[in-house]
């Protein structure tokens, strides 16, 4: 061991997106903070709007009732105009290591995903694993394809407008 190895190493914060089964998407990411803080940042209205979504989006609504059976709802503005919302209900709240909740993208109101977020702490760093379980492979694929970024309807409207002007 040399002297340098005793210094704090920068953790590998690469985001991993995997599809462990037909109906699941798993996000894995390491944060350089204790899990107590990561859990708070995920579950408190005073924190979530500071980071949730791309920088070009604005969080218009952030409601969290953090208890089993409690509801949550987020609405984000899109850079190109329009907004998209999502909501759900907390199923398990076990700070600071486990959170289970349902999630409905308001663009696909009939389809609910079950999200299980697990936080593991090691040497002051936190590994987050969030798995979304969808009811079918089609719904999962639709969520990924829509990219959460531009509501599919929004894009289609724009395309329609565009085609209209090209006539």
């Amino acid at each position: 061991m040399n002297a340098e190895s005793t210094e704090t190493v920068t953790p590998d914060t690469t985001l991993t997106v995997t599809t462990p089964s037909d109906r699941e998407i798993t996000l894995t990411r390491v944060f350089d903070a204790p899990r107590r803080l990561v859990f708070e940042a995920w579950t408190r209205t005073e924190h979530v709007p500071h980071w949730y979504g791309c920088a070009s989006m604005k969080m218009l609504v952030c409601e969290i009732d953090l208890r089993p059976g409690g509801a949550w709802r987020y609405v984000l503005s899109q850079p190109e105009g329009g907004e998209f919302g999502m909501h759900g209900v907390y199923r398990e709240v076990a700070a600071p290591d486990r959170l289970v909740y349902t999630e409905v993208f308001e663009a696909f109101p009939d389809h609910e995903a079950l999200v299980t977020m697990i936080l593991e702490e090691q040497d002051g760093k936190t590994k987050m694993t969030a798995t979304s379980l969808y009811e079918s492979v089609e719904v999962r694929d639709a969520v990924i394809a829509s990219g959460m970024e531009s509501g599919a309807a929004e894009s289609l409207n724009r395309l329609a407008e565009r085609v209209e002007t090209m006539k």
Binding site: T13, L15, V17, T19, S21, D22, I25, L27, R29, F31, D32, A33, L37, V38, E40, A41, H47, H50, W51, Y52, G53, C54, A55, V137, E138, D141, V143, I144, A145, S146, G147, M148, E149
Partner: protein, 114 residues
Amino acid sequence: MPHDPLSTTLAALADPTRRAILARLALGETSVTELARPFEMSLPAVSKHLKVLERAGLIARGREAQWRPCRLEAKPLQDVAAWVEPYRRFWEESFERLDDYLKDLQSKEKADER
């Protein structure tokens, strides 16, 4: 099970041995014998994996040489990446902002302790 090309690619990728084979092929084309070496597996077992990968269009087998070299085909992998990309970008950007925010929270906590 739907049989669109993307689903076929994802099914082929849902196996660690097949992913390892692709990782090896990313370094350049090689023979089946060479591919089997790092795995404790019979040649027929490896051939089976190669067939799945070939059907998904992830690899191609040469016809020109006796040893039928395997090589990686980039297109299906690019399709998978393009499909996941906007989703990944949303979360990547969120988590980068979360990194900064957690740093702020931690320094605030330290300041409060003083």
